[in-house]
Amino acid sequence: MKDIRESILKTDGDEKISGQAKYVADIRMANMQHAITKRSTIACGEIKNISYPELPEGYFIVDHRDVPGLNVVKIIFDDMPVFTEKAITYLHEPILLVVGPNKEKVKEIVNNIQIEYIEKEATFEWKNSAVQYHFDKGLGKSIFENADKIIEYDYETGYQEQAYIEPQGFIGYLEGKDKVTLIGSIQCPYYVKNAVIQVLNATEENVRVIQPSVGGAFGGKEEFPSLMACQLACAVKKVKKPIQLIYEREEDMLVTTKRHPARIRFSAALNKEREILGFKIYCAIDAGANIGLSGVVLSRALIAGTGAYTIDNLDCSGDVFITNTVPNGAFRGFGAPQMYFAVEMFMEHIALDLGIDSLAFRRKYLAKQNDLTSTSGTFRDPIIMNEMIEKGMEISDYKKKRIEYSKEKSTKGIGMSFFFHGCGFTGSGEATHIKAKVRLKKDKDNTVYILVAAVDMGQGIRTTLRKVVAQILEIPIDNVIFDFPDTDKVPDSGPTVASRTMMIVGGLIGRAAKEMKKRWTETEFIVEKIYEQPEYIKYNDETFRGDAYPAYSWGVNIVEVDVNPVTYQPKILNTWSVYDIGKSIDDRIVLGQADGGLTQGIAYGYLEVMNHVKGVIKQKNMTDYIIPTAMDTGNMETVIYENPYAFGPYGAKGVGELTLVGGAPAVVYAIEQAINKRIHKIPATPEYILEMMNDGKNRL
């Protein structure tokens, strides 16, 4: 039998290249109406009065009065209204929808609705804390009493925009009298369904969510689509016709969730032997106007606080701050990219301050099997980072380049980051919160159907899940069908997030396939599997104590740059990556994640700039929000290590986020070496590099 990692053609390749794939905006329905959102023009205040133009027949206003159930979008922390009743908490907050048959007319009505506000002073400083977390490991901060030396630095990260190819959108319609069906560009069909049930006060049977082709998501379609879906569901109930609600690119960039900006302070207690006794870590993130899932982002950031290192004593704390800005949310990496940048730079800066070799210093603290994690859980599985680092150094000629580039005249730099990513939901989330359920159905003609709610947004799950099933059942892959999820047909296998799909959902599907194989002679049957947490995994969400994740993927990124001394522009020359992802289910698909993830991660570190001025996002289109092209990425080489995890299919662990989280520190290490300055903030743009050249602290 072939090794499952051998690549096959991607299921969605032909339909996407030929243009036949149908995205939500391609769907046309008879009698389809158009909806456009009327939004606030202030960042903070109250609506005093709304005056409407005369509505022609067939045109509707849909607002908070049309919400039959709770006027709140079910996310994790439910504080986002479907339509605001009065209070305005950020610029472009949705107030109402205008719906009608002619889009030009709908646009005109939206423009002619006059809203008077009572404006209040908006808060953009980080002072209103809505969530506070704190946890210790070992002796916590008391270890600082024994310190011979304390080193402390601040780090700062900016917004990042998901920049998926396809903006957000839905089409909704009534089936029969009461049933609302929504087709949308989403990651989590059941998040949308459950949110709509609550808003419509509907029964489970009366809400259906279907996924069409999705043109990228990166976390941006995790929780935000629930807001649009809730609004549209209310409109469908009122108008009783099919309605399309598709965002324009600018609208999408101005109003949808982004990566949380973060400010992180690290303190290290060191002994006389210049060894780390413990860390104090403080992380603040800007949630924007709603909490939403920001608390979870903060917790994942804090859990990643020690990076790939074992630090025995920790005092970790953080705040989620509410500001009058666009709400931030899920984004590939989910708190980890901010923290990895900070912890990796901090380790380097400690070594520089102590005047010792930073690579040796960092390797000394690398986590090993059976070490305690930041939350005092245990790294149970083998950690092969040393082997991976050696491999990375060998293929990149790291040692030689590192020495050569440290010469004064050199404009080049090379940097290496170490990192891991916890796979699946944090703590007992998978077992208590998600409770994934999957089904595998065998037909009379031996066709096998994968029934899960996992979404293929381009990452390849439509290919890889089928591969797992076909390989286990030893049947041709064409006999395995994985249709787009439809909540009327598939069980809730959980959201397509948190690098969980192959490991958790695929693991369940793999176990279902094994059972199916045993019963293969039966003509027609369904196998159902429900997630069970491995018994040894125990975690307390309140105290942040125990095993935060069932498994960890590991990685090494090496980036080589040349910083132009005249224009201060960093040019990426080469990148090398080494990943332990348990087992590759398809090498080409893994490489797709590796190349794309690292590109997005590096760009987060030096290229992608987004900021707001008094709540106004300044980079609101793809002309001004710069993401890298192939010209900007340099040569990329990736090595995949196998280190199977017992509960993943064929040993697979998470891939999606791992490939992003190490990019920023690797590129910034390289830039620091190239310019011989310390960097404490990303993105490290040419403008920031110039500032550092003028006033920054020398690296050496």
Binding site: K103, V566, K571, V609, I626, M631, P686
Partner: protein, 279 residues
């Protein structure tokens, strides 16, 4: 409703614009963006539009002994691929936008749009380009640097259309175009720099600099350039600080979503210094 006209020839255009106000849409790479509408709705033009892409009279790249004449509707791509085109223009076009935009965008459009960040304007200013305008009343030729009067403002009467761009045939001993964009391709310039110089027996006989995106339009100062004619290369190199100081006054960039004043100014002057020092 605005009118949208697809004319058969230039005389039809001249007739139309003599009677009523129109705007021109050549490649559309700026016009369609500036007038974009919601998805599925037609382009939201605010003025009457004449499409000029199929007018034969605005096509063609020709040369005589002294001049090269480029039709206003020639695309960046066809200018790039034409062997008559001077290298200095090719170097610029190669760094502009994306292949798709270069395929559609035109030289006349880049001039008519008069963006401070219009890359093609940088070599055209340096080459003393002349813009030829036509109306029923006749032909008018204007220096490009006079034609562009301000940010996105041009000296074009309502009854006129840009028909040709004329540049003198000059070869330089050395020229260097540097586009400083936020990424390596398909991006609007933060700033750009073009330097060109020729020597005769070690003396400067021609020296020109133009800077893009650091003022309301391209910065070109012939009176500063003239001060260094007949200097030796060594003298020119020795006066680099003074040269930078002179240009400093005219490099007045802005802060915006793409970059900031300080970066733009520092890098513009760095590029000038680098060009001189590497002679």
């Amino acid at each position: 409703m605005v009118k949208q006209i697809l004319p058969k020839n230039l005389s039809e255009v001249l007739e139309l614009i003599s009677k009523e106000k129109y705007r021109f849409c050549a490649g559309g790479t700026d016009m369609l963006i500036q007038n974009h509408n919601l998805k599925t709705l037609p382009i939201d033009f605010k003025d009457n539009i004449i499409y000029t892409f199929n007018l034969e009279e605005l096509k063609g790249i020709t040369e005589d002994e002294d001049f090269i004449t480029i039709g206003a509707s020639e695309s960046l791509e066809s200018i790039l691929e034409n062997k008559i085109t001077p290298q200095i223009l090719k170097d610029t076009i190669l760094q502009m936008a994306s292949p798709a935009i270069r395929h559609s965008g035109t030289i006349g459009g880049n001039i008519g749009n008069a963006s401070p960040a219009g890359d093609l304007l940088v070599p055209l200013y340096l080459l003393n380009a002349i813009v030829q305008l036509q109306s029923l009343k006749g032909i008018r030729s204007v220096l490009l640097s006079d034609f562009i009067t301000h940010v996105r403002r041009i000296d074009l009467r309502d009854d006129e259309i840009i028909t040709k761009i004329i540049i003198s045939k000059i070869n330089f001993d050395k020229h260097q175009f540097v586009k400083v964009g936020p990424r390596l391709s398909d991006a609007i310039s933060k700033l750009s720099f073009l330097g060109a110089v020729s020597f005769h027996e070690d003396k400067v006989i021609d020296l020109r600099f133009s800077f893009g995106a650091v003022n309301i339009t391209v910065v070109r100062r012939p009176e500063i350039e003239a001060q260094y004619i007949y200097k030796t290369k060594e003298e020119l190199k020795n006066s680099v600080d003074e040269l930078l100081e002179k240009y400093s006054e005219y490099i007045r960039p802005i802060d915006d979503q793409r970059s900031n004043k300080e970066y733009r100014k520092t890098v513009a002057l760095n590029l000038l210094r680098n060009f001189i020092e590497e002679l």
